[in-house]
């Protein structure tokens, strides 16, 4: 019984860490323009729209976060092997991983933007100076929370995988959850804020991203400010739910029916989410109705 109570506590803590990690990951990727919407940041100068948006799609978010989390977890694991305090080891591991991220950010921005030179897109040094540290700070939060969560899984819940392996697995899952949930909000709602609300961006508008703010040119910091209103928390909830429910169903129900209890609970959870998804889909169709062109609505 005591073991289960401890397991529930660890599960809750891991879920909370995952929620913070998901929110920080998505905000980092939106400020740094790491995900799929960066295709438009890269495309804009080619269509004649010069901008001051950070442009650092080093790779997809899942492999990028897989790499950074495995570096953080690997360094932390190595330090713990030489008897470093776990908290200090995780902080140092995450700090080293963030420096790797910062190097990738800088080279990513310089390389990507320099490749647009023939379209007259300048490389803004002040963007590197002001934004790289911001993305690094968010990445630190995401990596630290993920590595700490993996440490809890390895040490308190006794998962068979070693800490670096857990870092790789959950880093990739973190990137997948964050990019899936956060990308549409950054891509459609922010970059194409000048397009109609409640409709997809017409393919003909591709590249015409919003480049001006209330005063002066829009900065990627403005994008982070905007996406933290929905995309960041939603990504956090997504990753937090994944981690929490995966641990919860195992910790609480694994002993039931000689192991099948966790599986049955997983299937029940999938059915519940399926029901909620269908409800959301039907609610959207009923509330917004069919697509109406501007001519038809006026």
């Amino acid at each position: 019984m005591e073991e289960i109570v401890l397991g529930i506590g660890i599960t809750a803590l891991a879920g909370a860490l995952a929620t913070v990690a998901g929110a920080a990951e998505d905000t980092e990727s939106d400020i740094g323009s790491q995900g799929d919407p960066n295709s438009q940041v890269q495309l804009a100068p080619q269509m004649g729209y010069i901008h001051r948006i950070f442009n650092k799609a080093i790779s997809g978010e899942p492999p990028a976060y897989g790499a950074w989390c495995v570096i953080g977890a690997g360094v932390a694991w190595a330090l713990m092997q030489i008897n470093f305090n776990p908290a200090l080891a995780i902080i140092l591991g995450s700090a080293i991983a963030v420096f790797v991220q910062g190097i990738y950010c800088t080279s990513g921005y310089l390389g990507r933007t320099a490749s647009l030179a023939k379209f007259q897109q300048p490389v803004y040094i002040d963007i590197i100076k002001s934004l790289t540290s911001v993305t690094m700070a968010h990445a630190f939060v995401a990596i630290f929370c993920t590595v700490a969560m993996c440490y809890l899984m390895a040490s308190a819940l006794h998962h068979p995988f070693a800490l670096p392996l857990l870092g790789l697995v959950w880093g990739i899952a973190l990137g997948a959850a964050g990019s899936a949930t956060g990308n549409p909000f950054y891509g459609k709602e922010r970059q194409y804020q000048n397009q109609k609300f409640g409709a997809g961006v017409p393919i003909s508008a591709s590249g015409n991203i919003v480049r001006y703010a209330e005063a002066g040119q829009r900065s990627s910091l403005d994008n982070g400010w905007f996406t933290t209103k929905f995309a960041g928390p939603a990504s956090g909830i997504c990753f937090g739910l994944i981690v929490f429910l995966e641990l919860w169903r195992t910790v609480l129900f694994e002993k039931l029916m000689s192991g099948w209890g966790a599986i049955i609970m997983g299937i029940v959870l999938i059915l519940i989410f399926t029901f909620i998804d269908r409800w959301i889909e039907v609610w959207g169709r009923k509330t917004y109705g069919p697509y109406v062109t501007e001519e038809a609505s006026s």
Binding site: D36, P37, Q40, G60, P62, P63, H159, P160, F161, A162, L165, V169, I172, A173, G175, A176, A177, S179, G182, N183, P184, K188, Y192, F197, G198, A199, G200, V201, P202, I203, S204, A205, S206, F230, A234, I237, C238, I242, L245, E246, T250, E254, S258, G259, A262, I263, G266, I270, F273, T274, I276, D277, R278, I280, E281, W283, G284, Y288, P290, Y291
Partner: protein
């Protein structure tokens, strides 16, 4: 037609020459494994697991960059990475269940459910984002009617787009895809773990309990590698985006299954080569 106006490359058919070469590679890998003194049963399990991953990836609705602008339905990220994320979440659960119960069936089904659960939550949050934050109802671009719910889509599709959001059939495909990739990945992990468990103590002349962490780590790293190999191969077969099982591109599945089986056979052979005691 491609976006650049040229003829569409690829197609849905199976290339007989390529398939024959692939089958030869597969058979040679199996024969070489047998010749080195290993049982071929684990390799068969690995091949089946790899083919399952390749098959499962085709169910996952992936919209890539166009989905991020609401220009195409699906989840706004890459095919290979999303499938790997789901499959690895499943592998996490499957490995844990195998450690706790030692039961093959529980571990494999546990891995499958872990992958399905990850995709169910992700797909739900994608729809929540589209509906509640962007005010966009789901609409498929490939079919006029949802094969499961019967919802019609043409009236809901925004002008100038190929659809948006995740219709229920795509949600269903995502969950099934996560389920199958999680199953395949866990199957590979367990087959490799059993092989390493049996052979590593002899080769390293060490106590089996001392070898345990090494065997688990090696099997885990190779299983992740298999995931990425098969997910990327399937992504090449899909070429860009796919809406799910109702997408015409889904007909390309046999080609991916063959390709993934061949790649898994060769990679499986390599993963067993590390157990060969050369006496050096």
């Amino acid at each position: 037609m491609s976006a650049l106006g040229g003829a569409a490359a690829g197609g849905d058919g199976i290339n007989p020459t390529g398939t024959a070469v692939g089958i030869v590679i597969l058979l040679v890998s199996i024969a070489a494994t047998y010749a080195l003194g290993f049982s071929i049963i684990p390799l068969i399990g690995i091949i089946v697991g790899g083919a399952l991953i390749g098959f499962g990836v085709h169910f996952v609705p992936v919209g890539g960059a166009p989905a991020a602008m609401g220009q195409a339905p699906g989840i706004a990220t890459g095919v290979a990475m999303l499938a790997a994320g789901a499959g690895l979440a499943g592998l996490f659960g499957g490995a844990w269940a195998y450690e706790a119960t030692g039961d093959f069936a529980i571990a494999v089904v546990g891995g499958a459910v872990g992958g399905g659960l990850m995709m169910a939550i992700t797909c739900l949050m994608v729809n929540a984002t589209y509906v509640f934050a962007m005010g966009i109802p789901a609409a498929s671009g490939k079919v006029d009617k949802d094969p499961i719910t019967g919802d019609t889509f043409p009236a809901y599709k925004s002008q100038g787009t190929e659809g948006h959001g995740l219709p229920f059939i795509s949600f269903f495909g995502g969950v099934v895809g996560g389920f199958i990739t999680g199953l395949g990945g866990t199957l590979i992990y367990i087959e490799l773990l059993d092989v390493y468990h049996a052979a590593l103590p002899t080769i390293m002349q060490a106590d089996p309990a001392a070898i345990e962490p090494l065997a688990v780590s090696l099997a885990g790293i190779f299983a992740i590698g298999f995931f990425l190999v098969n997910a990327v191969l399937a992504a090449y077969n899909i070429t860009g985006t796919i809406e799910g099982p109702h997408d015409p591109k889904f007909k390309r599945v046999p080609r991916a299954v063959i390709g993934c089986a061949v790649a898994s056979a060769f990679c499986g052979f390599i993963s067993m080569l590390i157990l060969v005691n050369t006496g050096m």
